[in-house]
């Protein structure tokens, strides 16, 4: 781990250089009155415990079971997703893209790390990494293989580069053998990666 936190040196914890810089900046910005330390805690708690990919899984499961909701997602994903309570920062303009036997969709932001926070939470390290941002657009199938996903030659791969303020959510294909399942059970099959397009929904056990 190149950027880990505290090391133990004879019982005295020693902070890494970046940890010291961040701590110094926080105390400076608090002293200058620009930030409220309690607001920092609320921000961290929000993205650590409240907002994450279970939100998106609920959107997908509803799309699988409710054709009118799926149609709403196609027409106005922002409104359809907001109807489940997921909206706001980094999800102001949502687009849902549906996988099919003809097309596999995959999301990237080559210029920064744009990601639909209200439905997926904060992006994983690999999504923000140079390898993913550089290669997803030029060799998506090779990248997918690194996730253990092989897309058949006959199926087109369509990569969405999030260059504007639109945020994309992949609706993976519903696994076979789930007829009659309710939304809650289906949502268990929806992984985060399946909603980025670097994975598929889980097969039922």
């Amino acid at each position: 781990m190149p950027h880990d936190g505290d090391h133990d040196h004879g019982g005295k914890p020693e902070l890494s250089p970046i940890a010291l810089r961040v701590r110094a900046l926080e105390s400076l910005l608090v002293e200058k009155g620009y930030v409220d330390p309690a607001a920092l805690d609320v921000l961290i708690d929000t993205y650590e415990t409240r907002i994450g990919p279970r939100n998106g899984a609920r959107v997908v499961a509803k799309a699988w079971t409710d054709p009118s909701f799926a149609e709403w997602l196609v027409r106005d994903a922002t409104a359809a997703i907001a109807s489940l309570g997921y909206a706001g920062r980094q999800g102001e303009h949502m687009v849902a893209v549906f996988n099919s036997p003809e097309t596999h969709n995959m999301i990237v932001c080559t210029l920064c790390s744009c990601y639909p926070w209200p439905v997926l939470g904060l992006p994983p390290v690999w999504y923000k990494s140079m390898p993913y941002r550089s290669r997803a657009v030029i060799e998506p199938r090779a990248v997918l293989r690194e996730f253990g996903v092989e897309i058949p030659d006959g199926r087109q791969v369509r990569v969405w580069d999030s260059t504007a303020e639109l945020r994309y959510l992949v609706i993976p294909e519903r696994p076979a053998g789930t007829g009659g399942w309710d939304e809650e059970r289906l949502a268990e099959l929806v992984t985060r990666d399946s909603m980025i397009g670097t994975g598929l929904a889980r097969m039922p056990a």
């Binding site: 936190g5 940890a19 900046l25 930030v35 303009h93 290669r135 969405w160």
Partner: protein
């Protein structure tokens, strides 16, 4: 600008390394760095486009060698010092030596849920005529500006097809430089991998592009 952030099509960064059961944070300082970036953004001292442009202006080697939250921290410092909100000496000591500069807003803890829920929509009303429609074939301009742009290098001078029209949105190339929001029509444009990369494949890349990036074919 042709900055280090414009990653599409690079090779040499190695494989993608998915991490099983990835935690939200990988060190104790990461959530603090993340929250400082957000909280300072909420003071209204800059917009999302100036913040992105600050990251792009980091020295290339620093950008590529930093972890994500380190990079965000460095870009935040760049903005704070440029805008006179802190001094380099204060950053060094972590103690105030110059009186605070006025900011538009201080985000108190009780305000955070409403601020996050409101977000920052980029769509704007406008009367500018719509230059392209779904199905139109366009070519992207081959521009190498010194400033901020969201037209990636790999998609310049390329032929594509408009597949969606999203109304008018804040134009980053203007907004990043204090020249106003200048809303422009925003389109999703589909490019064949053959056009972008010369590859013999039916695969495609869709990119969201503002009208000034496009010209008719």
């Amino acid at each position: 600008m042709n900055g280090p952030h414009d990653m599409g099509g690079f090779t040499g960064f190695g494989p993608v390394r998915p991490e099983a059961d990835e935690p939200v944070w990988h060190a104790d300082w990461e959530p603090r760095a993340f929250a400082l970036v957000l909280a300072m953004g909420m003071t209204g001292s800059w917009n999302i486009d100036t913040a992105r442009h600050a990251r792009e202006r980091l020295p290339a080697m620093q950008y590529w060698q930093s972890s994500y939250y380190e990079m965000r921290h460095h870009a935040l410092l760049l903005q704070l010092i440029e805008l006179g909100l802190i001094t380099a000496q204060e950053e060094e000591t972590g103690r105030m030596s110059v009186a605070p500069a006025p900011v538009k807003r201080i985000a108190r803890s009780g305000m955070i849920p409403a601020i996050l829920a409101a977000g920052g929509p980029s769509d704007r009303p406008g009367t500018r005529p719509q230059g392209f429609a779904t199905g139109d074939v366009i070519r992207t301009r081959n521009e190498n500006s010194d400033g901020h742009t969201r037209l990636p290098r790999y998609a310049r001078g390329k032929r594509g097809e408009i597949v969606a029209v999203h109304g008018m949105h804040v134009f980053p190339d203007s907004n990043a430089h204090g020249r106003g929001e200048d809303p422009q029509w925003l389109y999703t444009v589909r490019f064949g991998a053959r056009e972008l990369w010369g590859k013999d494949t039916r695969d495609e890349v869709c990119i969201d592009l503002w009208e000034p990036y496009l010209e008719p074919v």
